[in-house]
Amino acid sequence: MRCLLPPQAAAFVAVMSGVLWLPHGARAETTTPSGLIEHGPIAYGDVIAVAPDQLKGEAQASDPIAYEAVLSESDNRPASPRSAGRRAHSPVGRDSEIEAPAVSRNSAKLLLTNGIASVEGTSGGGVATWATIAGREMDRGIGLSAHFTAIELPDYGWRSYGASIGIADRLELSYARNNFDTRAAGAALGLGQGFTFNQDVFAAKVKVLGDAVYGSTLVPQIAIGAEYKRNLDRDIVALLGAGDHDGVDYTVSATKLFLEHSVLANATARYTKANQLGLLGFGGPADGYKLQFEGSLAYQLSRRAVVGAEYRSKPDNLGLGEDDWLDVFAAYTLTDNITLSAAYVDLGSIATFEEQRGGFVQAQVAF
């Protein structure tokens, strides 16, 4: 039961009642002969000056119930003094244990249930976007998250970094920057050695119903999202045949943790015209939006560790043989706020360079 009164008000009431009685040497405590501790309708317990030891002693003596008998089967710890005498409201006798909790409500989400950032900055499984909301706060807080991801491929180096905010476990707003270094391939493609494609992704995602962890197992957490992507190499992607240098992806995701099997499953439908997520622009000479699919399966090894695999289908608007993506990942929460992930990714053909298989590492900090 929460004290409905602000602490200042409670303190005022307590002090005033003490003051009123002081001239006659009385104390603000009201201990009944039976050891029962009572006070008026206001639960100002922890502020009143009481002598807890004396109270406890009295209470125990007058009410020596068989608390031990209840515990004795499995436990031989001494009976708690609190078992004697019921407090009508709040815990006068509970010593300093019950100071107004100064602990913030941080880390309200269960570990890993905020997902790990996708390369597009949304909360997900590294490559796919999930229905989860970034940050570690629940429905009464605002969570924050930041990530840095490095993907090393035979011919390319890809970096993604960004931050997101999760409001009331309901709305996620995120930003991510993608830098895609073409290294030697750039020269072969006529872009120049080490040419780097850059892209900004601004995304919003709203949880519309359900809960990934709680509620019926038949009702997943469902979220809808929009990702505005802006390629910063307008002229180059036009040369490659892309119709646009920016575009919006629309997503619908469903995520559920099936606790009975320790398995998390996600499915996402993505309506997009992005080429290689937008790194190579949007649409082709003729092609526009297409519906794509992302699927993830993860197995919880412990509260802190999870392993899984993802699949992400992709369009081929540019006719460069763009492939679907696969990854196998492992994530570990080093501390409550830091999650490290590693994955083996198979990104297939990128800009005619085949078999782009390599490593993915990510650090995520979330509050």
Partner: protein, 176 residues
């Protein structure tokens, strides 16, 4: 002027007699713990295993991972102890009969894990009524339960099987 008034009213204040039985004065009835169980009485209700909020597992194998009936009861008891010390949710338990809670929670776990218990507590809606539990509170309790299960060396997959029975009850438990 006003402060003078306060001072005068303070001096004029009648002291209450020293040996007043305030409980009687305010018509507060003392609740007495049952001498056998150590629990406070609750209003009558229909006892039924349906109050446990979920159907138990069919197999009796799972219970072994929790150390059988005794192990399960110890885990329930430990969970409540940890929750009482957890500053995030300790307040919820302050005016709660945790002797009864430890027993009924143990019965509920034992029943759900098919370890040979009946659940004699109230249903989830009634037993959480007025507690003002939030989703974050529930997560904190889950963490305490996980800690208790870890201490008892329950394998993680088995831990999740118990949580799987409890998670759908969130709708009856969360009030705000």
């Amino acid at each position: 002027m006003f402060s003078a008034f306060i001072v005068i009213s303070l001096i004029a204040q009648q002291a209450p007699a020293k040996d007043v039985d305030w409980a009687a004065e305010f018509g507060v009835e003392e609740e007495v713990r049952d001498p056998v169980t150590g629990e406070f009485p609750v209003d009558p209700y229909d006892q039924s295993n349906a109050n446990a909020g979920a159907k138990p597992y069919g197999s009796t194998k799972l219970a072994a991972a929790f150390g059988g009936k005794a192990g399960i009861k110890r885990i329930a008891q430990r969970t409540v102890e940890l929750a009482e010390k957890d500053p995030r949710i300790a307040e919820i338990f302050v005016s709660h009969d945790t002797v009864r809670l430890k027993r009924t929670l143990g019965e509920q776990f034992c029943f759900l894990l098919n370890a040979g218990c009946d659940y004699t507590g109230r249903d989830m809606k009634t037993s959480h009524s007025g507690l003002g539990v939030t989703r974050a509170d529930m997560n904190a309790l889950v963490e305490n339960l996980q800690a208790a299960m870890r201490e008892a060396e329950v394998p993680f997959a088995a831990q999740n099987k118990l949580l799987a029975k409890l998670a759908p009850m969130s709708r009856q438990v969360v009030e705000r």
